[in-house]
């Protein structure tokens, strides 16, 4: 029987209820048992008491886009190592992408992930299952059986499902099971050979660009089909100002749609690629500063629902290549919160919107009970020191792969403690 836990004198921020006040939280039997304003509620004499004076108590973060290497590429990342990185980053639940070897397109593999996560992970791991068999974009998977096995959503991960006919049937069938679809947006033709944002920088570097339209055309198509089918649709990650506009327009008439943005696209721009720095080779690509600002504005306005890390561990072999030949992706579980807090410190976005996009919004999209501080909800919580200064050192990061876009970055703000179902899984 776990002891009662009391966190008191905390600045409790709960985006789900728009609450931001000093108070205390009582945790019993892995759940939030009481929340009080001001003084702590009465508790057993042997309760663990944490004085959180000066700290923010927020729901544990939910990261909707995480790649691991398990099964198949455990040298990159295991579920266990990813969970260490997650705990250190304040992420108490993450959705793992189906792009593994084998690909998660079968109920038995969903069960495998859940079993392995239970045995090895400190945080909650939520498997996403493939939309199409073998991620080939042709035949849809067994949505019903996958849902029963525990899949939380369907996505083809790094692949952008591009056939309008397949999308339509996938959307309709997913709506049938009330399951969300997450689609990565990259037109196979327009984005085919591109490796960076299209524009002057790409031209100067002699690299093939990816135009905004490689994202906006599939986004608009998906949103039209989403309306047609009534599916809960999530544009996995948008990167351009034009996509924010398109989302805004469609949201006016469809409340079942949402979209996400990678913390990289919120924090960085194409100039960070500099002189062929392959750690900044991402999909979608880092775009212009105007795009970045539009994404931040879209986040503040609620047009963008979710911030994710896009955590994608890649080993050195894949990254130490000429730019066009290097792999995409960067790790991010451990730095997502701190990077997002930069937007707060710079005055670009309010704290509530930032936290909402990593807690209650993803929880609502995925139909989770977590992501909120509510009596009866699982006690997945984090304590944040919003001004804590630290410098990212790749050797200190928990991920097995070190392809971070924030090496040597100076941050203000860090998670101090992470709790999963009332259990402390990380302490700074």
């Amino acid at each position: 029987m776990s002891k009662t836990l009391i966190i008191e004198n905390a600045r409790i921020i709960d985006p789900a209820s728009n609450k931001d006040e000093i108070g205390a939280i009582l945790v019993e039997k892995k759940k939030i048992a009481d929340i009080t304003k001001g003084a702590a509620p009465g508790a057993p004499i042997d309760a663990i008491r944490i004085d959180a004076k000066g700290l923010i108590l927020a729901p544990g973060l939910i990261d909707t886009r995480v790649f691991t290497g398990e099964p198949g590429h455990e040298y990159r990342e295991t579920l266990a190592s990813a969970s260490n990185a997650a705990a250190a980053g304040g992420v108490t639940s993450f959705v793992c992408m189906p792009d593994t070897a084998p690909i998660i397109d079968d109920a038995s593999l969903v069960e495998f992930i859940i079993r392995r996560a239970k045995a090895t992970s400190k945080v909650k791991i939520l498997p996403a299952a493939a939309i199409t068999k073998d991620l080939k974009g042709k035949e849809i998977t067994e949505f019903g059986l996958l849902k029963e096995a525990g899949a939380v959503c369907f996505t083809d991960g790094r692949f952008s499902l591009g056939s309008a006919a397949t999308l339509r049937s996938a959307f309709s069938y997913a709506a049938n099971f009330n399951m969300p679809i997450f689609n990565h947006l990259n037109d196979a033709g327009l984005g085919a050979n591109g490796v960076v944002n299209e524009g002057l920088m790409a031209t100067g570097l002699g690299l093939t660009g990816i135009p905004d339209e490689a994202e906006t055309i599939p986004l608009d198509r998906d949103l039209q089909l989403a309306k047609l089918s009534g599916v809960k649709y999530h544009g996995a990650q948008i990167s351009s100002a034009l996509s924010v506009e398109i989302m805004h327009r469609h949201k006016l008439e469809n409340d079942k749609i949402s979209c996400g943005v990678s913390i990289n696209n919120l924090s960085l721009n194409e100039n960070d690629v500099g002189s062929y720095r392959t750690f900044f080779k991402l999909s979608p690509p880092l775009r212009s500063e105007n795009d970045r600002q539009a994404l931040v504005a879209g986040l503040g306005a609620g047009i963008i629902d979710v911030i994710h890390s896009g955590h994608d561990p890649q080993d050195v072999e894949v990254k130490r290549q000429p730019f066009a030949q290097a792999g995409d992706g960067a790790i991010g579980l451990e730095t997502m919160l701190s990077a997002a807090l930069r937007l707060y410190h710079s005055g670009e976005c309010d704290l509530m919107s930032i936290l909402r996009a990593m807690t209650s919004n993803p929880a609502n999209i995925l139909g989770l009970k977590t992501g909120r501080l509510k009596i009866g909800a699982p006690a997945d919580m984090i304590l944040i020191d919003i001004n804590f200064p630290w410098v990212v050192d790749e050797d200190q990061l928990h991920s097995l792969s070190k392809n971070t876009t924030f090496e040597k970055a100076r941050f203000s703000g860090k998670v101090m403690k992470t709790f999963v179902s009332g259990k402390e899984v990380y302490s700074h």
């Binding site: 002057l200 031209t203 135009p211 062929y276 130490r320």
Partner: protein, 328 residues
């Protein structure tokens, strides 16, 4: 800068002391050079032309030095030019044929770099199909590296030899109008030339069908034309680029025949340029695609002279980078 592109009176090649103006370890691109350094290299190259033509003994400034030519992309001409340049200066030159090497067996660029580095060369000349590959390799070796072309990024010695050729004919670069015509989007020659010519205050123009113009090009040249006739008007120099065969298959241009009709350099179009305009081409040419045979071999063509200047420029670059007096 007050000095534009005149010969420096006291060029130093052939003398015991070496100019201190050029003090880079590598030549990765024109982007790393300023106007003074460009003029210095052109002056050195001009000296190399004079010595090569005179029949006198060329000072073996690279005697005892080892030069490796590492070509991941086939290029008989450029490789031969670098080889001759190195040998004329007395270097031991080794060509690495990538097709028969371990690169073909899956070795990474970094591994190749480490292997070659262990052989202790003094300079590696690299051509690679990927933009940035030469710079990446340069970070992993202890010797000097010369970029002999990396993807669609840079080809600095080509731009230098083009500038030298122009300067010999026009006696200056400053104030000239140079029109570059062809596949600008995929051309490293175009990028390096634009950077060099802009640095030398040349009025730069590019001419291409819209499908072969990269985004943002208007920011790195003075004028952009999709109509060749307008673009050639009053040009001092017409620089034609090679159309890769695979581009002529319908994706970006419908056919070579149509390309020639609108963007091939023939007598009629050339007549719009200045009467004394020179015609250039980095080679190898597609006669009848981007250039009429009569123009390629005509009085205004300086194409074979470009090849000669290529050797001289590469001699100058190798000398500046690795001769005994070169600054590192």
């Amino acid at each position: 800068m007050s000095k534009s592109s005149e010969h420096s009176p006291n060029s130093t090649i052939g003398k015991t002391s070496v100019s201190n103006i050029f003090n880079h370890k590598h030549l990765l691109g024109i982007a790393q050079l300023n106007q003074v350094e460009i003029i210095d290299l052109l002056d050195r190259a001009q000296k190399m032309v004079d010595i090569s033509r005179s029949g006198e003994k060329i000072p073996p400034s690279l005697s005892g030095k080892t030069q490796i030519n590492l070509f991941f992309e086939n290029s008989t001409r450029t490789q031969a030019s670098f080889e001759i340049a190195g040998k004329r200066l007395g270097a031991l030159v080794q060509n690495m044929s990538v097709k028969t090497s371990s690169v073909a067996k899956g070795e990474t660029l970094i591994d190749t770099a480490a292997t070659l580095n262990a052989m202790r060369p003094d300079v590696i000349v690299v051509r690679h199909s990927a933009a940035g590959a030469v710079e990446l390799l340069s970070q992993k070796v202890g010797c000097s590296v010369v970029n002999a072309g990396d993807g669609a990024h840079e080809h600095p010695t080509q731009a230098l030899l083009d500038a030298l050729t122009i300067r010999r004919h026009k006696k200056r670069l400053n104030g000239l109008t140079v029109a570059i015509c062809g596949d600008i989007a995929h051309s490293r020659v175009a990028r390096s030339n634009l950077m060099l010519l802009n640095a030398m205050n040349v009025r730069t123009r590019v001419i291409a069908p819209a499908t072969l113009l990269p985004k943002g090009i208007e920011n790195i040249c003075a004028e952009v034309f999709t109509n060749m006739k307008q673009g050639l008007k009053d040009a001092d120099v017409v620089m034609m680029l090679r159309i890769q065969h695979e581009r002529g298959e319908g994706a970006l241009i419908p056919s070579r025949r149509e390309y020639y009709r609108f963007y091939g350099l023939d007598e009629k179009k050339l007549a719009l340029a200045k009467p004394d305009a020179i015609v250039m081409h980095p080679g190898p040419m597609n006669r009848g695609v981007e250039i009429a045979p009569s123009i390629a071999d005509g009085a205004q063509s300086v194409i074979t002279e470009q090849v000669e200047m290529g050797v001289a420029v590469r001699m100058a670059v190798l000398d500046a980078l690795v001769s005994k007096g070169a600054k590192k």
